[in-house]
C-alpha cells in the first residue's frame, strides 16, 4: 500500500472545504449552474438522469480495507446502499444529493480518497494493471511510476486546461491488463538490452466516436526521463490540439492528422530542449516513492498445501479455483478475482454489505489489500493458497464467487440509459439477459475466453470497440437499437472490432449473440481456438451470414 504524506492530505482536505463553500453558494443562488458546473465536475460530481453521481478515483486500483469500508459507509449513508465499479478504476455512487456531497467527500478524505482528476480536461487518474506488484514476471511494480506521474500531474498548472481530458495507463507485464493501447498515452515498463528500466511509449489511442489504437512514439525512454517525455507530449498536444471542436480535441485526432512521424518529431524537439531540466528523476526520488509502497510480510509457504488438495475434490471449488485464482509472484500465494458479475446482476455493482465483508476478508486473508480492475471486478491480491477453500466458502455465501472471470458472462457494460443522461439505449438489461442465456458454467467454459462489452452511446464507456463482441446502443425512430461488432481486442494485440451489419432491436440482441456464439462453436478449428482467433482467421462474413440470413 502507498502511504500518503502530509502534503497530499492537506491538499485533499482543502479541496473538500473549498467544495463545501461552493455547494453552499450554489444552493443559495450565489453561484449559477453555469459557474458551478465546472467546479462540481472537478470534484467528480456529474448529473445523471435521476440524480447526481459522484465518481471517486481509486489510484492504480489499489484499496485498503479501511478505504473500502469507507466506501461502504458512503454508499449506505448518502446513497442507496451500493456502489458501482467502473472500467477506469473508479467507483461511482449514483444517488447522492448535492447537499450531502461535501460530507461524503469529507468522509472519503479521512481515508485519503478523493475525486480529483476524475473529470475535466486534465490528466485523469493514472491507471495500471490491477495485479501490479503481485503479477509473476512483471518488470517492476508499475504503481511506483503511476504514483510519480500522479504527483507530477495532479493540478499541474500548465495542464489543468488541456484541449480535452487526458488518460495515461501503465503496464509492466507482457499480458496487458491495463489496456494501454486505447489510452492517450500508454506506457509499457521494460528493461533495455543494458538492463536499464524504462518505457515503451505509445500515444494516440482512444475509443469514443473515433476509435484509434495507440502507436509507438518511442521504443525506449529511460525511467529518469519519463516525466520530461510525457511533458513534451502534453506540450505539443496543448499547443496543437483542437480546442475548436470537441469531437476532434483528443490527442488521438492530432496524432492521426499530423501522422505519428511528424508528431513524434515535434515531441522530440520539445524534449531535447528540456530533458535535462528539473523534471529529470534522480534515483533518490524514485527510491523515495518506492519506499512508500509497503509490501506484505510474506511467509514461506507450501505451493501445494494439504488444505488445497483436500478441497479440490469438490468440483464447485475446483471450477472456481481454475477460473478465478491466478498465479502470484510468491510461492504459496495466489491472486483471487472476485466476480462482480453474478448471473442476472448489473455488472460492477457491489452492495455496502458486500464491501464491508470484502474488507473483512482482505484483512483476514490478503494483508488488508483489495484491487479494482478495469473489467469491473475486484481482486484480493495476496491470498495464501492454504486459505483458498475457506475464502471460497465465504465468497460463495456473499455471491462473489461466480466462476465466470474472462468468460462470456463477465460482461463489461456502461450504465447506459438506466442512469446516463447521454445514453441512446440501455446497456445493463442487455448484459443481464446475456448472463441468463449463458448461465450454464459448463457451456461458458466450453466457449472459453470471450469478452462482451456494451456501451449505451458512442462515448464508449463500456469499451465496445475492443470487446471480442461489442454492442453499441443507438437510437432509431425513438427505439433502442444495437450495432454489433466482432473481433475487437483490448490487450497487447489491441484491435477495433468490425461491424457485422445493420443494428438490431433491443429484444433481438441476445438472440443475435447466441447465433454468433453458435457459429463460432461450429467454425472454430480447435476447442482452444478462442472466439477472436476464429474471427481473425475467417473474417466477419460467416458470422454476418448467419446473423442476417433469417433477419
Amino acid at each position: 500500500m502507498y502511504a500518503y504524506d502530509e502534503i497530499d492530505r492537506t491538499l485533499v482536505n482543502e479541496r473538500v472545504s473549498e467544495f463545501r463553500d461552493q455547494v453552499k453558494r450554489r444552493l443559495s443562488g450565489e453561484l449559477t449552474e453555469d459557474e458551478f458546473k465546472m467546479l462540481r465536475l472537478m470534484n467528480g460530481v456529474y448529473l445523471q438522469l435521476h440524480a447526481y453521481m459522484l465518481r471517486v478515483a481509486i489510484p492504480y486500483g489499489t484499496l485498503s480495507a479501511p478505504q473500502l469500508r469507507k466506501m461502504a459507509h458512503v454508499a449506505r449513508r448518502y446513497d442507496r446502499g451500493y456502489g458501482h465499479f467502473t472500467t477506469r478504476q473508479n467507483i461511482q455512487f449514483n444517488w447522492i444529493k448535492l447537499a450531502d456531497l461535501p460530507d461524503a467527500l469529507e468522509d472519503l478524505a479521512s481515508v485519503g480518497i478523493h475525486a480529483m482528476q476524475t473529470s475535466g480536461n486534465c490528466v485523469r487518474n493514472v491507471t495500471t494493471d490491477q495485479w501490479a506488484g503481485v503479477a509473476p514476471g512483471e518488470v517492476e511494480d508499475p504503481r511506483i511510476w503511476a504514483e510519480l506521474l500522479r504527483q507530477y500531474s495532479t493540478m499541474h498548472p500548465e495542464f489543468t486546461y488541456l484541449p480535452r481530458k487526458f488518460k495515461i495507463a501503465i503496464t509492466a507485464s507482457d499480458h496487458d491488463r491495463a489496456a494501454i493501447k486505447v489510452h492517450d498515452i500508454g506506457l509499457r515498463l521494460l528493461k533495455n538490452a543494458s538492463g536499464e528500466t524504462g518505457f515503451e511509449v505509445l500515444v494516440g489511442g482512444g475509443l469514443g466516436r473515433t476509435p484509434f489504437i495507440g502507436k509507438v512514439i518511442k521504443p525506449f525512454v529511460a525511467g529518469r526521463d519519463i516525466l520530461s517525455y510525457v511533458e513534451s507530449i502534453l506540450r505539443v498536444y496543448n499547443q496543437y490540439g483542437r480546442r475548436d471542436n470537441i469531437y476532434k480535441a483528443r490527442i488521438k485526432i492530432l496524432v492521426h492528422e499530423l501522422g505519428i512521424e511528424k508528431f513524434s518529431a515535434e515531441v522530440e524537439e520539445e524534449w531535447q530542449a528540456m530533458r535535462d531540466s528539473a523534471l529529470q528523476l534522480d534515483d533518490e526520488i524514485v527510491a523515495d516513492i518506492r519506499s512508500r509502497f509497503q509490501y506484505p510480510g510474506y511467509q514461506t509457504l507450501s505451493d501445494t498445501p494439504d488444505e488445497l488438495t483436500a478441497a479440490s475434490a469438490d468440483p464447485q471449488f475446483e471450477r472456481w479455483l481454475n477460473n478465478s485464482v491466478a498465479k502470484h509472484q510468491k510461492p504459496g500465494y495466489a491472486i483471487v478475482t472476485l466476480s462482480l458479475k453474478p448471473i442476472g446482476g448489473p455488472p460492477g455493482d457491489a452492495t455496502a454489505d458486500q464491501m464491508d465483508a470484502i474488507a473483512d476478508l482482505a484483512d483476514k486473508y490478503s494483508f488488508g489489500e483489495i484491487r479494482v480492475g478495469h473489467e469491473q471486478n475486484l481482486a484480493l491480491p495476496n491470498v495464501a493458497k492454504r486459505d483458498l477453500p475457506a475464502l471460497w466458502q465465504r465468497l460463495d455465501e456473499l455471491g462473489l464467487a461466480t466462476p465466470n472471470v474472462n468468460l462470456i458472462t463477465d460482461i463489461i457494460a456502461c450504465p447506459g440509459l438506466d442512469y446516463c443522461s447521454l445514453a441512446n439505449a440501455r446497456a445493463i438489461p442487455i448484459a443481464q439477459e446475456l448472463t441468463r442465456r449463458f448461465a450454464n458454467h459448463e457451456l461458458a467454459e466450453m466457449i472459453g475466453r470471450l469478452h462482451i462489452n456494451i456501451s449505451g452511446c458512442i462515448n464508449a464507456c463500456g469499451h465496445h470497440h475492443v470487446g471480442h463482441i461489442g454492442i453499441l446502443g443507438v437510437e432509431k425512430n425513438n427505439a433502442e437499437f444495437y450495432q454489433i461488432t466482432i473481433g475487437g481486442r483490448a490487450d497487447e494485440g489491441a484491435v477495433v472490432g468490425t461491424l457485422i451489419g445493420p443494428a438490431v432491436p433491443y429484444d433481438d440482441v441476445a438472440n443475435v449473440i447466441e447465433d454468433i456464439v453458435e457459429s463460432y462453436l461450429a467454425l472454430r478449428a480447435r476447442p482452444d481456438e478462442l472466439f477472436y482467433q476464429t474471427v481473425e482467421r475467417l473474417g466477419v462474413e460467416p458470422f454476418k451470414e448467419r446473423v442476417y440470413a433469417t433477419r
Partner: protein
C-alpha cells in the same frame, strides 16, 4: 447558453418542461404556478411552440432551484392522464428499468 427566447423551438405534440432539482438532483417538471413539481400529472402542458418557448424561458430564469430545463414530449391519454413521450423520459420518471441491488 443561448437564451430560450432566441432558440428555435419545434414541438410535435403536447410537451412539458423538465429539469433536475438542484439540491438533490431528482426529476422535476414545471407546473402551472410558476414553480416545480415532481409529479408529471401536475406539470404545465404546452401545445404550441410559442407556449413552449415561454414556459422554457420562465423555467430557465429559475436557475437556483433547477438544473438544465428542456422541453420533453408527453402523451395525454383520453382520460387526461399524462405519460412520458419517449423511453428516456419514461426512465427519468419511473426510475431504472432494472432491480437495484438494494430495493428502494
Amino acid at each position: 447558453m443561448t437564451s430560450p427566447l432566441q432558440q428555435k423551438i419545434k414541438i410535435t405534440g403536447p410537451s412539458v418542461v423538465t429539469a433536475n432539482r438542484t439540491w438533490d438532483g431528482i426529476v422535476i417538471y414545471r407546473d402551472t404556478q410558476q414553480g416545480w413539481t415532481d409529479e408529471l400529472a401536475d406539470a404545465a402542458i404546452v401545445r404550441t411552440a410559442d407556449e413552449a418557448r415561454a414556459l422554457l424561458a420562465e423555467s430557465t430564469a429559475d436557475d437556483v432551484d433547477a438544473i438544465g430545463p428542456y422541453i420533453a414530449p408527453v402523451i395525454v391519454r383520453d382520460d387526461g392522464a399524462i405519460e412520458p413521450g419517449n423511453l428516456r423520459e419514461r426512465i427519468r420518471r419511473q426510475g431504472v428499468t432494472i432491480d437495484l441491488p438494494i430495493p428502494a
